[in-house]
Subunit: 273 residues, 2 copies
């Protein structure tokens, strides 16, 4: 039974938006999801999606989301505006902006829609991993608040320790879920897509300045698959293709129970090294 059944999960408080007009909301950063500078990008991305999910004109479920992190978000209040740019018969296109004091810090676009049964196949292979309960949960560094809201059990590529060396491969694979456990929905899945520490840390063997510039998520799971996942741990894996000249990319795959590929996510990350 989910621990959250009788209480509001801190994630729901963090992504809470108050509508002040159709498609216009006020939100607040939450200290529990603070990152080094500003809030955890995953919660910001989830907030952008939430602005669409709460809109009275929303059509169906999320299919894709792109979030661009244009500037740091200061701790405190922000405004989100979600605008349905085009509504088709079975899909809907959105433009979303988050601003503080009238200055845009974050832009996003999203596609929502209704899906019908078609031929289907999952071509990608799920990484092999022992069951979640056989993998040790490792704590996130103390000074990164948001990490305390996730239970992470690293199968490979854990966060480099003080004595770590450069690593030839950027892959991390981990079992991950909200902490305390919380039934999955599209909003929490969005945040989980950004749960990986920067791949350059693993390659270089130490932390360095890094921040996501743009994040794109494709939601493969429909509402029934999201609900079936409930609060079970997700097998999440991420790696990079190329690092250089201040930027690297990251591709992530999030696997649910029953070999369900819930989402694939891609991002471009700024770094200094």
């Amino acid at each position: 039974m989910p621990e959250t059944e009788n209480a509001v999960h801190v994630f729901d408080t963090a992504v809470e938006l108050t509508a002040i007009d159709a498609g216009r909301y006020i939100g607040n950063t939450h200290p529990a999801y603070a990152n080094m500078v500003g809030p955890f990008g995953g919660v910001t991305a989830a907030t952008m999606l939430q602005a669409v999910r709460l809109h009275p004109e929303v059509l169906g479920a999320p299919l894709s989301l792109t979030v661009n992190f244009a500037a740091a978000i200061a701790y405190g209040e922000f405004e989100v505006v979600a605008r349905p740019v085009r509504t088709n018969r079975s899909s809907q296109h959105w433009v979303i902006e988050l601003a503080q004091d009238g200055a845009v810090t974050t832009t996003a676009t999203a596609v929502f829609g209704n899906r019908k049964d078609t031929w289907g196949a999952t071509e990608l292979g799920k990484p092999s991993a022992p069951p979640a309960n056989e993998v040790v949960a490792s704590p996130f560094p103390d000074f990164v608040a948001w990490g305390r809201n996730y239970e992470m059990r690293f199968v490979e590529g854990p966060i480099p320790g003080a004595d770590a060396s450069p690593h030839p491969d950027s892959t991390s694979t981990l079992w991950v879920r909200d902490e305390p456990a919380r039934p999955l929905d599209f909003t929490s899945l969005t945040a989980l897509c950004d749960v990986f520490y920067p791949r350059a840390f693993l390659r270089r063997g130490h932390a360095l300045p890094a921040g996501t510039v743009t994040l794109t998520i494709y939601f493969h799971a429909d509402a029934a698959e999201i609900e079936a996942q409930s609060d079970q741990p997700i097998l999440a894996t991420a790696r990079s293709n190329r690092f250089g000249k201040n930027y690297f990319d990251q591709t992530a795959h999030l696997w649910g129970s029953g070999d369900t590929l819930l989402a694939t996510a891609h991002q471009l990350v700024y770094f200094k090294a």
Copy 2:
């Protein structure tokens, strides 16, 4: 020597924009890049990027681009508006919209910026392939105009013929360049990122209704690497992770000469089957 040295390449005509105001342009679809319904998505994506590249306030080179295909574009005139939402010290965020008769058909966001030398590594492996001149060029189906502007030499996963069967793997790998040959730039690389026929055709063994919903490109190459590539063929490979309920994803890698990973590109595609 490029064949285009003394003539304007049809690609340049297709992505031509006339500025009518700062960040506001008029363009026209070009019959040479017509697809089944409306223009080739790669040329539309390239046009969105071009609107930023032509803007007087542009900072540096493209880092990322996301284009959302919200509605079909009718053949004829269109308007593009590119707006710099946020300019930082070394990066700049853009929102771009393409409209016809006041209705938005296409939205996009882009990140541009200046890069500095850092540690770098290409972790992804280049697919093995014989040299381009040892692979037979195959024609695109006659009724798809845009294909005639690209020379495609398929190493694996060619376009299914009339007698094709379902295929267990969605990977296509091909040598590709503009036809006639044209020195690469960021705009033509953008179009090349969308040059793959729909992966569901390969899996199912036949054509079916399909269209890109959203496309994201990460530009790994800087201006010097783009220039060094000139008009040599690019080794391009694409595959899907999951197909189902009207949508599938596609991840593509575009390799230049000297094992340079020029760009990675991701898209979500609508299909019926």
